[in-house]
């Protein structure tokens, strides 16, 4: 079947490229070429330069959660001694790895794996972990590498208690990227391709530019962009930013949004009553519910911090500049910077309030929510609410509590406008 990309909508492109990436990983596996599992904001550039297929456990686990397949995986990991307290992405992925391992050992597909609604991805030959979103990843990837007896590349980006990233930190990160190269050469059995590396860096930068443009569309009031869509399109900034897939898809999406804007077709039609910032990961197993309650109130998500997580605008060819960008990812920076980013997002996206996901899975993203939100409130005057949830453990979310909190934010925002 011939595929005509040009005729596809951005949403079709998103799905097509995602399946193409998974297909590539499976083909690599079959042909004995390396497959790497990667954390969501690790330097993909060096892997893509070596044509190593990349799979992304967080995105993969999110997919399983969104398709209501999380419970089986979570129960399986509990049965293996993993505490319920651990990040549910990690629990799901470690289960998936164990099940693939069992399949490889016995030749029989375990029932839970057969029923898993997530994408079919192969076992990795190596893993790479960058702790710019959390240190949980370090422990999770340790376990993957140990259980599979494969190399674990750690690109450690020390938490930034002050900004900008200090010079000795940039040097340390650059040295780690350099040290990873011989590992890749060994896995691939050939010399590192520096020319391709440079091209891939330039590509990454182009992808990021388009990614940031999408978010800019939310500045229009009313907005043609429904911020919930970023949760989906994010898959490509995670999985394909170092290829042209992401750039092309985002370019198309921006064009579609521009067209909507020009023809007055806004995300919520003429029902955009309130705009808000969503802080935190989506509640994948309850995505529909979380969206519906908001929509009923005419509350449109326009402010997202996701753009700033992949704000990787470094100077191609400069490893320290690249290291700095991977380090100053929003989640790896101090409260002051975090509050600054949130306040700017809220202002740029003309928001009337802030919703914070108090994520049971994610200590890093929620212990500071209270402190951050009150700084944002001081700076912007915007009201905020927090709700209890979990990105992929469906048991940790209460629809009733969520609805009440959303309703109260709506009322506070109305009050504020008067």
């Amino acid at each position: 079947m011939t595929v005509n990309i040009d005729e596809m909508s951005s949403r079709e492109m998103l799905q097509y490229y995602q399946s193409l990436l998974d297909e590539k990983a499976r083909t690599h596996k079959k042909e004995g070429k390396p497959v790497c599992w990667s954390s969501s904001v690790a330097p993909s550039e060096i892997f893509v330069a070596m044509d190593i297929a990349l799979c992304y456990p967080e995105t993969h686990a999110a997919g399983i959660g969104a398709k209501h397949g999380a419970m089986d995986m979570l129960e399986y990991s509990e049965g293996r001694g993993y505490s319920n307290d651990i990040c549910s992405y990690a629990r799901i992925n470690i289960s998936y790895m164990e099940l693939l391992k069992e399949k490889a050992r016995t030749g029989i597909t375990p029932e839970i794996l057969a029923n898993c609604p997530g994408a079919d991805i192969p076992l990795p030959d190596l893993v790479v972990c960058t702790n710019n979103i959390c240190n949980t990843l370090l422990k999770w990837y340790e376990n993957l590498a140990f259980e599979l007896d494969i190399p674990c590349i750690v690109i450690d980006v020390p938490f930034n208690h002050q900004m900008p990233v200090e010079p000795h930190r940039k040097k340390y990160i650059a040295a780690q990227i350099e040290a990873a190269i011989p590992v890749l050469e060994k896995v691939c059995g050939r010399a590192f391709d520096h020319q391709k590396f440079l091209e891939v860096q330039k590509q990454t930068r182009r992808s990021v530019e388009q990614w940031l443009k999408i978010a800019e569309m939310a500045a229009y009031k009313p907005s043609p962009l429904n911020g919930f869509d970023l949760f989906n399109y994010m898959a490509l900034i995670v999985c394909a930013r170092s290829t042209e897939y992401a750039e092309k898809t985002f370019r198309k999406f921006v064009a579609e949004l521009q067209e909507k804007l020009d023809s007055g077709k806004y995300a919520f039609g003429d029902n955009e009553k309130m705009r808000f910032v969503w802080e935190g990961i989506a509640v994948w197993p309850h995505l529909a519910h979380t969206f519906k309650s908001l929509k009923q109130n005419g509350m449109l998500l326009t402010g997202s911090t996701y753009p700033s997580v992949w704000n990787l605008q470094y100077e191609p060819g400069d490893l320290e500049s690249m290291g700095e960008c991977y380090s100053n990812v929003y989640t790896n920076t101090c409260l002051d910077n975090r509050a600054g980013v949130l306040s700017k997002v809220a202002t740029d996206a003309k928001c009337d309030g802030v919703v914070l996901h108090q994520n049971r899975s994610c200590k890093l993203m929620c212990f500071l929510n209270n402190d951050t939100a009150s700084v944002v409130q001081d700076r912007t005057g915007l009201p905020y609410v927090m709700f209890d949830g979990d990105q992929t453990d469906p048991r940790n979310f209460s629809p009733a509590q969520y609805d009440t909190r959303i309703q109260s934010l709506f009322e506070m925002a109305q009050q504020n406008k008067k």
């Binding site: 949980t136 422990k139 040290a179």
Partner: protein
């Protein structure tokens, strides 16, 4: 009172009343104290300035004020430290130093509710590279400069080098003590063993070393105890509150070695020699890189399990007790693999949740008694 009893009583007193120990240090020396919150910090830098480095490992206190700042699923030690912050317990300190090996500490280091200044540094988690040592030495240098500004005095390399020697001497005698204590569980019961360890965090190191040396000498004079009870290795972040170890004491257990962050992980290896490196801060960085088998120091080879198995055989232990700090994610990731390894090696093991706030231990008691029956 025998000399042994006297020395143990001193350690007990210091461990039970840290504030008293800190106050008397300040009174005697006219110098201040700096808190380390917590796990692994370059205490030698503070020691070199003549100040008292103090370990902040929470306490057995009810949690109330901390609830306003931390959700219920923050680990027990974070809750406890936050409670003490809010209660003004740390206000006697001149500064506190946070390291951030886990996500909880990344957050805690930014929510400081005490009165004195709080400082931070970040350990490298890529632990094989020379670049990691260079990076950490610079982190320590920055930390040192900020400390100097707070305490109003400079800290020389020579002084830090001397403090490293003082600390290494303490590490050596603590290793010796840990081994000898295993031969005398009738005298050094689990609680006393813990008090000797805990007192390290609130006493001048040289004084601690002198007392432990004396204790070791006294113990050396005695014949080894003929011990009938089960011998265990403890692993985890820490084994508190005292009610926890009391159960083991009452059930006739001997702690013959530990892999606790609060205890032997602090001293199971020395800060390396100066060979080739005159910079004491670089040597302190090398200590971190050499730290093995700790859930907070990234290790894709997961050496901790093998290390525990080795400890069991070296110390002729009957089993391993994993003291699992409530809601500590780094530890929770290690346990499933360690269980597998211990089971494969045929080593009985028991996991007990550590909650610094706990007052009721009935359930734990029952499990410990059952475990004793398994080991018998």
């Amino acid at each position: 009172m025998s000399r042994i009893t006297e020395i143990l009583a001193t350690f007990d007193d210091v461990a039970a009343h840290p504030r008293k120990a800190i106050d008397s240090f300040i009174q005697e020396t006219g110098k201040g104290a700096v808190g380390f919150a917590y796990v692994y910090g370059p205490e030698e830098i503070v020691h070199a300035a003549g100040l008292l480095p103090v370990g902040m490992w929470g306490a057995h206190v009810p949690i109330s004020k901390a609830r306003a700042y931390l959700p219920p699923f923050a680990c027990s030690i974070a809750q406890s430290i936050m409670e003490l912050e809010c209660s003004g317990v740390y206000d006697v300190l001149s500064a506190v130093v946070f390291c951030t090996p886990c996500d909880t500490l990344k957050c805690m280091s930014q929510m400081w509710r005490g009165k004195c200044p709080s400082l931070t540094f970040v350990h490298p988690q890529n632990r094989g590279l020379e670049a990691a040592n260079i990076y950490l030495a610079q982190e320590y240098r920055n930390l040192k400069e900020r400390l100097e500004a707070i305490i109003g005095q400079t800290i020389s390399d020579a002084a830090i080098t001397r403090s490293i020697a003082v600390y290494n001497a303490n590490r050596r005698i603590m290793r010796t003590f840990s081994d000898i204590a295993a031969d005398h569980p009738d005298i050094i019961d689990p609680l006393k063993r813990h008090a000797v360890n805990k007192a390290r965090f609130f006493m001048d190191k040289a004084r601690h070393t002198a007392l432990v040396t004396e204790l070791v000498d006294e113990l050396n004079r005695l014949p080894k105890a003929a011990w009938k009870g089960p011998r265990i290795v403890l692993s985890g972040i820490m084994a508190e509150p005292d009610g926890f170890l009391d159960i083991f004491k009452e059930a006739g257990f001997a702690v013959v070695a530990d892999d606790l962050a609060q205890e032997s992980r602090q001293y199971r290896h020395d800060v390396p020699d100066a060979s080739g490196h005159d910079d004491p801060l670089y040597r302190l960085a090398q200590w971190w890189q050499a730290l093995d088998g700790c859930s907070l120091a990234t290790d894709p080879s997961k050496h901790r399990g093998a290390m525990l198995i080795d400890m069991v055989s070296r110390h002729k232990a009957d089993g391993v007790v994993m003291a699992q700090m409530k809601f500590c994610e780094p530890e929770e990731f290690d346990f499933p693999i360690i269980y597998q390894q211990l089971d494969q090696a045929g080593i009985p093991n028991l996991m007990i949740e550590v909650d610094l706030e706990a007052n009721a231990f009935e359930q734990i008691k029952t499990r410990v008694q059952t475990f004793r029956d398994v080991l018998a």
